[in-house]
Amino acid sequence: METITKAPNAVNLIENKKYKLVAEDIVASYDNVIAVKNVTMKFKEKAVTALIGPSGCGKTTFLRCLNRMHELSKNAKISGRVLLDGEDLYSNHQDPIINRRKIGMVFQKPNPFPTMSIYDNVAAGLKLNGLRNKTILDEIVKGCLEMVYLWDEVKDNLKKPGMSLSGGQQQRLCIARALAIQPEVLLMDEPASSLDPIATQKIEEMMNELKKEYTIIIVTHNMQQAMRVSDYTGFMYLGELIEFGETKQIFENPLKEITAKYVQGQFG
């Protein structure tokens, strides 16, 4: 596997050391319509950062800028920098593919690969990237399914299609799939939005475990969820980052009036 050899920019290294991921001045647009306006945000290592805001405010777009998925959309443009461990993903001359292996993503709707079994879904990222060793694959698949509390439910049916699972199980399968490639950062776009309360609770419990190891960024519509799972919260509105701080402060003591209105449920 490829490794980074380029020395990171010295100034940024000092400034951003404690941050795993830094987004600087991100401007993202579709068809020249700007969806994300000059957003700068820093994500602490081994912490959960929640992104909240009304729908259409650019949360998904911003998240997709962080692992270079935005540029795959049609007529999409982006400017700004995204520093992972101090190194810019957009100018390190590395294939976006390599960067995406470091920054995993879970989508809003569960999307297991329809033709693959449960096992193959989890193993897909490794197998299709050339890992053949069956012992290692078995171990990683088991480990990742355990991390998302799915192992006990599926261990006897690993050969069954991933699509045969329930919605909540499918979403946990997709999280396991994202974890299997051993990323350092995990992006989650409203991972619980189509799930029942029990499945949601399972995913939240899992995140509390995962944050011991990963830097997690989660988009959510659910204020209670943001309060329960996150250490930091950013509030976005109309493409801008309005306020960003510790979750407790954002919900109990917001600096901006509009943030207060949103977290109190007065609009959204």
């Binding site: 795959l72 292996r101 995993g104 989508f107 033709t115 693959m116 897909a124 299709l128 799939r177």
Partner: protein, 304 residues
């Protein structure tokens, strides 16, 4: 605001409308059903006709012998069966890979001027009269090499297959939801692997239907063969020599003024239909068995 009275009026209106809609619904269903019957009648009667007339001609001799003297009703169509199988096999070897690759190109990389141009010419080619393609093969292969040959026939038939496979492959790939692509890319999987291992796996059933359409199409082509393989009453003796094929044989013998020849024509037609049918079922069985596309009843049965 809508008043309570207006609301009540709406309701009665809706109830009245529902009644009328039920009637319209029944009428449309009736028309649709009638259309299905009308479409099936000719299809069914052709099959019935071929089976009743053709099965009389079938015999071991008919399937294994070279044609006998004209008008005697002796001999068989074995060289024609051989030629048709060879033509289908060789044309598929050329047409299927090129067609699939062009389809992948158009669907994955064809969102630009080049893609549009290729798509346009591909569609034109799909609508080309096949006799013109036969004449083209005659000009560039038969005249250049100096003899009618299986190569020339293969050349013409692969050109006929290509646009069908290209188009159906492109359409099947485009039907795969973008979310699977994105999931693949988000896992850091290389583009080529995403296309071949995720997208194609989901589009397989549609792609195979397209290939089978193309196979059925070339299996029945006659006009281009007149200009390329010419026809023969002997077994295969080399790719550079003339050859027989079922549609050619059917065309030749059914024009003869003998009852025995007509019967053999029916027999050959039945054999052609059976060949296309078995290739279709065989290919589907082999490629779609696991994904449950065409053989879903197998898994249902297992569950029962």
């Amino acid at each position: 605001m809508i008043t309570v009275e207006q609301r009540a009026e709406f309701r009665t209106h809706f109830r009245y409308n529902v009644g009328r809609r039920l009637v319209i619904d029944k009428i449309v269903k009736g028309i649709v059903f009638a259309c299905v019957v009308m479409a099936i009648i000719p299809l069914g009667s052709i099959l019935l006709e071929v089976f009743t007339n053709g099965s009389a001609a079938l015999s071991i001799e008919f399937l294994t012998q070279i044609p006998g003297a004209i008008g005697t009703g002796e001999g068989g169509i074995s060289p024609a069966i051989q030629g048709t199988l060879l033509l289908i096999g060789m044309s598929s070897l050329i047409g299927v890979p090129i067609g699939i690759l062009s389809g992948i190109f158009l669907s994955e990389f064809g969102d630009n001027r080049y893609g549009k141009a290729i798509r346009f010419f591909n569609d034109v080619l799909a609508e080309f009269p096949t006799i013109v393609i036969g004449i083209f093969a005659f000009l560039v292969i038969v005249l250049v090499f100096g003899n009618f040959s299986l190569w020339a026939g293969t050349f013409a038939l692969s050109i006929i297959m290509l646009p069908i496979i290209t188009r159906t492959t492109e359409e099947s790939l485009k039907l795969v939801p973008v979310t699977y692509r994105e999931a693949g890319f988000a896992l850091g999987i290389k583009r080529w692997a995403v296309i071949t291992r995720i997208i194609i796996a989901s589009a397989k059933s549609g792609m195979i239907t397209g290939i089978m359409l193309a196979v059925a199409r070339i299996a029945g082509e006659t006009a281009p063969l007149i200009f390329t393989i010419l026809g023969s009453s002997q077994f295969f003796s080399g790719f550079d020599g003339p050859m027989d094929a079922l549609p050619l044989r059917i065309w030749r013998i059914s024009m003869l003024p003998y009852d025995s020849a007509q019967a053999q024509g029916w027999g050959a037609a039945l054999v052609l239909i059976l060949i296309v049918l078995s290739i279709n079922i065989g290919v589907r069985y082999v490629f779609l068995r696991k994904s449950g596309g065409a053989f879903r009843f197998r898994s249902v049965r297992r569950r029962l």
